[in-house]
């Protein structure tokens, strides 16, 4: 166990550093698309960085992550090398999946990034299986499965939650409630007031918690508790992290369905700006130090892009490898 137990200024700085890293890659990729240097269907995690950073801070490298198409932040927070992601986005053989998966299907075993799915809700049943394996082996690993608010309306969510509760699996269900499912508001699709209260349908083994996901302290503490609970064999948690998607559903989506004021307010509360103040106020780092970190991440991103661009495309024969192949 190397992840920190209690919240502290050091933890805050770690979280913020990870959030900055995520933002730099996110902005960088969006920049590449905008400038026509990369063709990509991308679902930006903009505004959801603190959640992922807190998650990463509470996990071990050996823990498992199952995430979704909007997963860049989760993957980085779980420790994936940026260049593996960027090269994958470029469809190069040096990418995490040799260019075969793409942004919606990132896997990186070494970092514990086991599945990224493009199908809403489908990661959750798979996460129960990873948790089941840990329970069988007694290997003390925790599985986190990330998904959105909209995903809690699909059947797979329900089946996975029930199974995890009945089998008391070491799984954290991390719902990143960004208030929209594509273009549909939370209220128009989701009958419950909060996501956390959906835990009530799964008895005592399942705990439901709702926090401000953009606040590092609340988010870290809730995540810490959920992870500890899972690791101690006490059962799963449904952790609702409230946030906002500071972007369209996909990059390029003009989001006409989001009221202008709501968007403006959300931008005014951009966690990257807000938490910067917290970090500086805590005295753990100065503005200059933070700027230096940003510069460093920007440089790393540029290097990752160079790495990707200089990497070869996969051999065409890769189309029929990594499967049994039907000749």
């Amino acid at each position: 166990m190397t992840s920190p137990k209690a919240y502290s200024p050091e933890v805050l700085l770690n979280i913020y550093r990870t959030a900055l890293k995520i933002r730099s890659v996110d902005s960088g990729v969006r920049g590449l698309i905008r400038s026509g240097n990369l063709m990509l269907a991308m679902h930006p995690p903009t505004g959801q960085e603190i959640i992922a950073a807190c998650m990463g801070e509470c996990l071990e490298q050996t823990d498992y992550l199952v995430t979704i198409y909007r997963g860049l932040h989760d993957q980085i927070a779980k420790g994936m090398p940026v260049k593996k992601i960027v090269a994958e986005y470029h469809g190069r053989v040096t990418g995490a999946c040799k260019g075969k998966g793409g942004p919606m299907h990132i896997t990186h075993r070494e970092s514990g990034v086991m599945v990224t799915t493009g199908v809403v809700g489908s990661g959750m049943p798979i996460a129960t299986g990873l948790g089941w394996a840990s329970q069988l082996k007694g290997d003390n690993r925790v599985t986190v499965t990330c998904f959105g608010d909209g995903a809690t309306n699909i059947g797979a969510f329900h089946e996975a939650m029930n199974l995890a509760a009945v089998w008391k699996l070491p799984v954290v269900f991390l719902c990143q409630n960004n208030q929209y499912a594509e273009c549909t508001t939370y209220e128009d699709a989701t009958a419950s007031k909060t996501i956390a209260e959906r835990a009530l349908a799964y008895g005592e083994n399942m705990v439901g918690v709702s926090v401000d996901g953009n606040d590092p302290e609340s988010m870290f503490n809730a995540m810490r508790k959920a992870v500890d609970r899972a690791r101690a064999g006490k059962g799963p948690t449904l952790l609702e992290a409230k946030t906002f998607r500071l972007s369209g559903h996909y990059f390029g989506d003009p989001s006409p369905y989001i009221p202008k004021e709501q968007m403006a307010e959300a931008f005014a509360n951009d966690p990257i700006v807000k938490v910067r103040e917290q970090v500086i106020n805590s005295g753990i780092a100065t503005a200059d130090e933070l700027d230096a970190i940003v510069t460093q991440f920007e440089k790393e991103f540029e290097e990752a892009v160079e790495f990707a661009k200089n990497s070869p495309f996969p051999e065409l024969s890769e189309v029929t490898t990594d499967m049994y192949g039907v000749a």
Binding site: V119, G155, V319
Partner: protein, 331 residues
């Protein structure tokens, strides 16, 4: 005469829905993000319909494909004609039970009491860099389910006519839209254009070889047939339009005439629609066949992400041309 009006596939789908809703108050739409409040659907097919027909008849749903298809079935049993949108075809996998065990079977199992006049619109196709979970062509599955009708248009005008026919049909219809060519244009059909289901369309008459296809490859085939005509090769082109029930007669009669055939589709080769077409041709036109019927299809693989691989995966127009030439080589 002025140039005919040109419309995209997307406009064609919208036109069909619009006309159907105007003509019949029991036509209702449901699906994720389809309302005007949500911007009229991710692909904008339903944009403007809420304004025209009201939010009661254009219902945005939660992300619940089983409930979407189930609700469509239930409403149809009570006399409605629901058109359900499944955003990408790969997501119909979560609703297969509703489609296969219920929509396709309730009319039969009830001894005819409860037909299920629903239409399921969905979209798919490789070529947009979406990778393995947003690109599959799964029409062969549904064609293997007695009771389902499976329809794929190859032009905007056909899209209008076939979608209207699906909505008016008393059987559950799966209507598959191509994601890659959605802004390709074609001539607009007249108002209230309808094309009968279950009939293949001989688009071009020819005498040397029959090419049978549907959907996106038709756009390649039209060009290839025209180019080969210049060389003196006469290609008969058949657009299936309806995959199931399959119009055996039109296919077989053509091959009896030409003696040669190529079947092309975007779906992966093995156990695809092409196999069924070949099987029927060889059974019913055996004595006329001068060379083996060839299939052109995408490779038996998961749709890869990298552009280079995605292109390598996909069937190619040049494959179709090569197959045509190959059938002509023998004897």
């Amino acid at each position: 005469m002025s140039d005919p009006k040109m419309i995209t596939f997307t406009q064609a789908y919208t036109q069909a829905l619009d006309e159907a809703m105007a003509a019949d108050p029991t036509v209702v739409l449901l699906g994720e993000d389809i309302g005007d409040k949500e911007g009229g659907g991710v692909f904008k097919v339903t944009a403007g319909l809420t304004q025209k027909y009201g939010a009661e008849r254009v219902r945005t749903t939660p992300i619940s494909e089983q409930a979407i298809i189930g609700a469509a079935i239930g409403a149809s049993l009570a006399g409605m004609r629901p058109v359900a949108e499944i955003m990408f075809m790969n997501f119909i996998t979560v609703a297969m039970d509703q489609v296969v065990n219920h929509a396709a079977k309730l009319r039969f199992m009830s001894g005819g009491q409860t037909p299920v006049p629903i239409t399921i619109r969905t979209r798919t196709g490789a070529g947009t860099g979406n990778g393995g979970q947003h690109s599959d062509m799964l029409e062969a599955w549904f064609a293997h389910v007695p009771g389902m009708k499976v329809v794929i248009p190859s032009s905007p005008a056909d899209a209008v006519g076939l979608l209207r026919a699906c909505i008016e049909d008393d059987d559950p219809c799966l209507f598959i839209e191509d994601g890659v060519t959605r802004i390709v244009k074609g001539e607009a059909p007249p108002a209230n254009h309808k094309i009968p289901l279950g009939k293949a369309h001989v688009e071009r008459e020819g005498s040397d070889v029959t090419v049978i296809s549907y959907g996106r490859p038709m756009q390649d085939i039209r060009k290839i047939a025209a180019a080969l005509a210049e060389e003196g090769i006469s290609v008969e082109v058949i657009d299936l339009r309806t995959i199931s029930p399959l119009d055996t007669d039109t296919i077989v009669n053509s091959v009896k005439k030409t003696g040669r055939a190529v079947v092309a589709h975007e779906a992966v080769r093995s156990f695809g629609v092409g196999a069924e077409v070949v099987a029927r041709i060889q059974e019913f036109a055996f004595d006329s066949l001068k060379s083996p019927v060839l299939r052109v299809a995408s490779k038996d693989a998961t749709v890869p992400f990298a552009r280079t691989l995605e292109l390598e995966f996909l069937y190619k127009g040049s494959d179709i041309e090569a197959a045509i030439r190959k059938t002509l080589e023998e004897k």
